[in-house]
């Protein structure tokens, strides 16, 4: 290779390496490899050479050109890499800044236990129904053996709307409505919903609260059935080791009537403030449907029997999540809601 070519190769390589950015590299490329560049000039020299030397000179120029293209490509890659590194450096983030969050949708504790209870009963074959919140005295009281002078009416001080309509004090009116709608046995439903009593609010009372009514009517439904179904519910709701206690109670719409407590799952029935040191927590009322209630729903108590029960959803939520004041459920403080 002649000296001129060798020099060109060295100069060009140096120029490429000296380029600090793509523009300089492109300029250098144009100066050497461009149409009017130094390699081009050498190619022009070709015509001036004797023909016997043209072949080898041409080979040399091409070789230099190829070599230069390689040098260029490697420098370009190098510059690209440097550029990317700079860019990445410039993109540095303060990773300690707070993460970008959308508020997560939280399920209200009442809805949580509501859904949980509904699932347990559906798995045992109970349909899920609902009824109106504005009720007539007939459905809310009279059809359930609670006539105007019944002493038990005292415990259910009601909000009245018009003459004989009121906000239902319990979900039990759905018992009658369901029997009327279904018309014949079997009836196996639960009716979750909102209920109202004229109670001044305190830590355990709220004028608005929620219940789940349950009802199973068929031939030969017994108290033994009632016990088994509600024991199953209590275990599913509060844990496998929870025991259920059944004792007599009084409700005008059931006969016999039952009060059901669960062994305290907080202290393992040893006694704690939650169970008032008794080891037991009263959780629901139930009983065998009173024959008059069956009749009021259009059923013949000589042919079928049934059990009914009522569960306070708010109370379930308070117990299950350790909430100590029912009013928190209706205040909707996000510091509260965000815990569920």
């Amino acid at each position: 290779m002649d000296q001129e070519l060798t020099k060109l190769l060295e100069d060009a390589a140096a120029a490429f390496k000296a380029a600090r950015n793509n523009q300089e590299l492109q300029d250098a490329k144009a100066a050497y490899l461009g149409k009017k560049g130094r390699i081009g000039e050498q190619m022009a020299r070709l015509k001036e050479l004797p023909s016997n030397r043209r072949g080898s000179f041409g080979d040399s120029v091409n070789k230099v050109k190829t070599q230069l293209e390689e040098v260029f490509a490697s420098r370009k890659a190098e510059l690209d890499r440097i550029k990317l590194e700079e860019k990445i450096r410039a993109q540095k983030l303060d990773v300690t800044l707070p993460g970008l969050r959308f508020p997560v949708g939280r399920v209200h504790p009442l809805t949580r236990v509501w859904n949980e209870a509904v699932e347990i009963f559906m798995a045992m074959g109970f349909d899920v129904v609902e009824g109106p919140e504005i009720e007539t005295e007939w459905y809310n009281f009279e059809a359930l053996n609670l006539d105007a002078d019944h002493p038990a009416r005292d415990e259910q001080d009601s909000f009245y709307i018009t003459g004989d309509t009121l906000l239902r004090t319990q979900t039990s009116p759905v018992q009658i409505r369901t029997m009327e709608r279904v018309g014949k046995p079997p009836v196996q439903v639960i009716a979750p919903g909102r209920t109202f009593r004229r109670d001044a609010p305190d830590a355990s009372h709220s004028p608005v609260f929620h219940q789940i009514e349950g009802l199973m009517v068929d031939k030969g439904i017994t108290m033994g059935n009632l016990k088994a179904v509600l024991e199953e519910f209590n275990r599913e709701m509060f844990g496998k080791d929870v025991r259920s206690r059944f004792r007599p109670d009084f409700f005008p719409f059931t006969e016999p009537s039952v009060e059901i407590a669960i062994s305290c799952f907080i202290c393992g029935a040893k006694g704690c403030p939650a169970c008032k040191r008794t080891g037991w927590i009263e959780i629901l009322g139930a009983g065998m449907m009173h024959p008059q209630v069956l009749r009021n729903g259009g059923f013949n108590p000589d042919e079928v029997s049934g059990f009914a029960f009522g569960i306070g959803i708010d109370r379930l939520a308070l117990l299950k999540y350790g909430i100590d004041d029912i009013r928190l459920l209706y205040e909707n403080d996000l510091r509260f809601l965000n815990q569920f």
């Binding site: 303060d94 800044l97 970008l100 959308f102 997560v104 949708g105 939280r106 399920v107 209200h108 809805t111 559906m122 109970f126 899920v128 129904v129 609902e130 002078d149 019944h150 002493p151 038990a152 909000f159 009245y160 709307i161 018009t162 906000l167 079997p186 196996q188 979750p192 909102r194 109202f196 004229r198 001044a200 004028p207 608005v208 030969g220 017994t222 108290m223 033994g224 059935n225 016990k227 088994a228 179904v229 206690r245 059944f246 004792r247 007599p248 109670d249 009084f250 006969e255 016999p256 065998m288 024959p291 029997s305 209706y330 205040e331 909707n332 403080d333 996000l334 510091r335 809601l337 965000n338």
Partner: protein
């Protein structure tokens, strides 16, 4: 209702602890809420030990004692005698209340200060002797409280009785239950009494005019009444049961009521005009001054006891002041009667006078024991020398009641309860409860004791048998049913699905009361305030109406949280019932979504933090929610709706149906709720959305060919809605346009004042081949041309 254990022991023998008795009764249906210990005052009195005894430095006849109990030391002065260390004495401490009401206070005597006193018999009303030291039993130990050491503490069972067991509102009723539970006999028949009667020489008549309200009325005359205090036993038990001892006659009437459940009333016979009793409804305009001194107007539904000229008692509720027993009473009439429970309940609640008597009458007292209870009370008065009974009790019993007999097969009872209740188990339980029972070929015939007026149908027998057998012992058995799929009512199911979608749209659930007040409604809608269904008897002033909208409650929730969590984001929904049409109240579901506070989006660090629009956040949330609900077109049309910002409000149209409105709440409304931040809120009627839920999705083919993206920035008048331009793009974009979306809106220099620049991102794609610029370029030209013609827009930078 309170029952002292010692009183129960007069009826039933038991060695079981009080706790065990309480548990047994509770499990049989008489719930014992608490076991209370009654010490009848005597607070601040302790059994003490003498620690030291010295003669008084100044007064020779006195001794100065140092006494101690449980680490408490006191100084006592006495002139009785010298005591040796180790002797045990009953000592009253500072604050002890003496029978005359005075309290023990520290005193100084001859330079020595004392702060306690040796107790005398008088100090505990044991006798009148103030000099004799109260004797302590040998079991007394230092530190014991004096009443405990003397066995003067009464254990009292406090019952929380159910409304049906009027027969158990007394010692006898509870004892009967206890005997049945323990399967032991009742020891005594309280009604088995006899006394001397003087011949009645005075005329006396009872006339029941309103027999529907008074099934039985008895009157016993007594002479030579001595008004004094009753016995310590009576006073103790009355006090333990929560009643105040008054005098021997009143105490007897109360004592008998507590023991057998029959309320009694004593009249001063000489104050009754014409010596007659008329049981009748009050006349129009009549009134009576009751023993509490209140002048009470009576209504014609109320039953009164009257003499020939005026009412002398509100029957079964409260006596009259003018005819009550006084210290001057010489002759008396003892009333024992049965009044209609409903009538008593209504009267007591109308007069707002719930008494121990009315509480028992309204739960039905045992009709058959009315006369027997009167005789028992008469016997108590006679035996104690407080009066002399005259012969011939007047017993007006217009309609005696037949005993209730029920026949039922054992099978029937078992079909309601459990196979555990064999015929023998049933018969045994009923026998123990004093039913008279006949068991013949599987048929059980039982006659209820007359005290049990709650028994009327065979199911009552089933309950009696089950509770004496023990609910706990009944075998649990899951019902056998044909398998069927449990279903949820469509509306409940829809609500559940909507909630899931709302949670997925990053909303938390709020649950508020169904109430509101007109003031809140008019804060939101000062004009055309919506009609709300009023509650006839609201509990508080802020809960006077049923909510016609969830918005007021939601704004209150936002305000509450703003006060508590600063400007942290609020994204809430409530799905619940609203109420409308006051003349014919109806209810339906409504949905409200609220968004407030800053949320942050930070593309680069230098933009941090960047406030994001409340309106568009809500809009995004609503869109996400609706998209989840169904594959339907979602449109937002500018509207002006009261309560909303007039220029930041849109009607929500879903699948061609208007389903609600959304927008920022008018700043004036916010300030009325004391919310300083921007609140965006959507009110949605969920009914139409519910009908669209859960459509089965159909797959549409995805092209495997690359997309071609073109961004267009259009300069246009500010008033032109972006959606209008998007519509033009979609129309002109033809089949190849896959989507067109706004990604930026810019106003300000260098854009002309009345204009804005809206940037769109257009994605083109061909289902079957790769697109080229050449194919897309003419489409874009068409789009730009149409924008120019239809809305006067032009391409930015061109």
């Amino acid at each position: 209702m309170r029952v002292p254990v010692e009183w129960l022991k007069e009826y039933v023998d038991f060695d079981e602890s009080t706790e065990e008795i309480a548990e047994l009764l509770t499990m049989a249906g008489l719930e014992v809420g608490e076991i209370s210990l009654e010490r009848f005052g005597f607070e601040n009195s302790y059994v003490c030990e003498v620690v030291a005894c010295e003669r008084h430095p100044a007064r020779d006849e006195f001794f100065v004692l140092k006494v101690a109990a449980d680490g408490m030391e006191r100084i006592v002065l006495t002139n009785l005698r010298a005591y040796s260390p180790g002797e045990i004495l009953p000592i009253a401490f500072e604050g002890y209340t003496f029978p005359d009401g005075s309290k023990l206070e520290p005193m100084k005597f001859g330079g020595v200060e004392s702060n306690a006193k040796i107790m005398s018999e008088w100090d505990i009303e044991y006798s009148d002797n103030r000099e004799v030291v109260l004797p302590l039993p040998e079991t007394a130990k230092p530190g014991d409280r004096v009443p405990d050491a003397l066995g003067m503490t009464l254990e009292v069972l406090v019952f929380e009785l159910r409304a049906n067991r009027g027969d158990c509102l007394c010692v006898l009723g509870v004892a009967t239950e206890l005997a049945a539970v323990l399967n032991r006999p009742l020891k005594k028949n309280v009604f088995d009494v006899s006394f001397e009667e003087k011949k009645r020489d005075v005329e006396f008549t009872v006339d029941i005019r309103d027999a529907d309200l008074c099934s039985r009325y008895t009157g016993r005359l007594l002479q030579n009444i001595v008004i004094t205090e009753s016995t310590p036993l009576m006073k103790r038990r009355l006090t333990a049961c929560g009643m105040r001892p008054i005098n021997c006659i009143v105490d007897v009437t109360n004592y008998v009521m507590l023991e057998v459940g029959q309320p009694l009333h004593a009249f001063d016979l000489d104050t009754l005009e014409n010596r007659e009793i008329i049981v009748r409804r009050a006349a129009e305009g009549e009134s009576i001054v009751t023993i509490d001194g209140a002048d009470r107007a009576l209504s014609t539904e109320m039953l009164v006891i009257a003499d020939s000229s005026r009412p002398v008692a509100v029957a079964g509720v409260m006596g009259g002041l003018q005819t009550e027993i006084t210290d001057a009473t010489k002759n008396m009439l003892l009333e024992s009667a049965f009044f209609n429970p409903r009538s008593i309940r209504r009267t007591a609640s109308a007069l707002d006078m719930r008494s121990e008597a009315s509480m028992r009458f309204e739960k039905t007292i045992p009709l058959d024991d009315v006369a027997a209870a009167s005789n028992y009370a008469t016997w108590l008065i006679w035996k104690n020398g407080w009066g002399a009974p005259l012969s011939g009790m007047i017993d007006s019993f217009p309609a005696p009641k037949n005993p209730v007999s029920i026949s039922v097969s054992g099978d029937k009872i078992r079909s309601l309860t459990s196979p555990d209740l064999t015929d023998d188990v049933i018969a045994d339980a009923l026998n123990r409860l004093n039913f008279s029972v006949k068991l013949e070929g599987g048929e059980i015939s039982a006659t209820a004791p007359s005290r049990r007026s709650d028994i009327s149908i065979w199911q009552d027998l089933a309950e009696e048998a089950a509770r004496i057998f023990g609910y706990e012992r009944i075998t649990s058995e899951l019902p056998t049913v044909k398998i069927r799929r449990a279903v949820m009512m469509p509306n409940l199911y829809a609500n559940r699905r909507l909630r899931e979608l709302l949670f997925r749209a990053n909303l938390s659930e709020a649950i508020t009361f169904s109430f509101t007040r007109m003031e809140d409604l008019s804060k939101i809608w000062p004009e055309n305030t919506p009609a709300a269904v009023p509650i006839r008897n609201p509990l508080t002033e802020d809960q006077t109406h049923l909510r016609p909208s969830i918005i007021p409650n939601m704004l209150n929730v936002v305000a509450h949280n703003r006060r508590n969590i600063g400007d942290a984001p609020i994204q809430l929904f409530e799905l619940g019932r609203i109420f409308f049409n006051p003349s014919q109240p109806s209810e339906k579901d409504s949905l409200v979504i609220a968004v407030s506070g800053r949320s942050l989006r930070t593309p680069t660090e230098s933009d941090y933090p960047l406030p994001q629009s409340c309106f568009y956040t809500l809009k995004g949330v609503v869109e996400q929610f609706l998209e989840g609900a169904a594959d339907q077109k979602i449109e937002f049309k500018p509207v002006s709706v009261p309560a909303f910002h007039p220029h930041r409000c849109a009607e929500i149209i879903f699948g061609g149906h208007s389903v609600g409105v959304m927008g920022e709440i008018h700043p004036e409304v916010c300030s009325r709720f004391e919310i300083r931040d921007v609140v965006a809120l959507a009110e949605i009627d969920p009914e139409h959305i519910k009908t669209l839920l859960d459509a089965t999705p159909r797959y549409s083919r995805i092209s495997r060919h690359p997309a071609l993206q073109r961004d267009l920035s259009i300069i246009v008048d500010r008033d032109v809605p972006a959606e209008t331009i998007t519509d033009i793009i979609r129309r002109k974009g033809e089949d190849l346009l896959e989507s067109a979306r706004v990604f930026d809106v810019f106003t300000g220099a260098p854009i002309d004042g009345g204009k804005k620049s809206v940037s769109f991102s257009l994605i083109f794609r061909h289902p079957d081949r790769t697109l080229t610029d050449a194919l897309v370029a003419p489409i874009i030209e068409n789009v730009i041309e149409a924008i120019k013609i239809e809305v006067g827009g032009s391409l930015r930078d061109s």
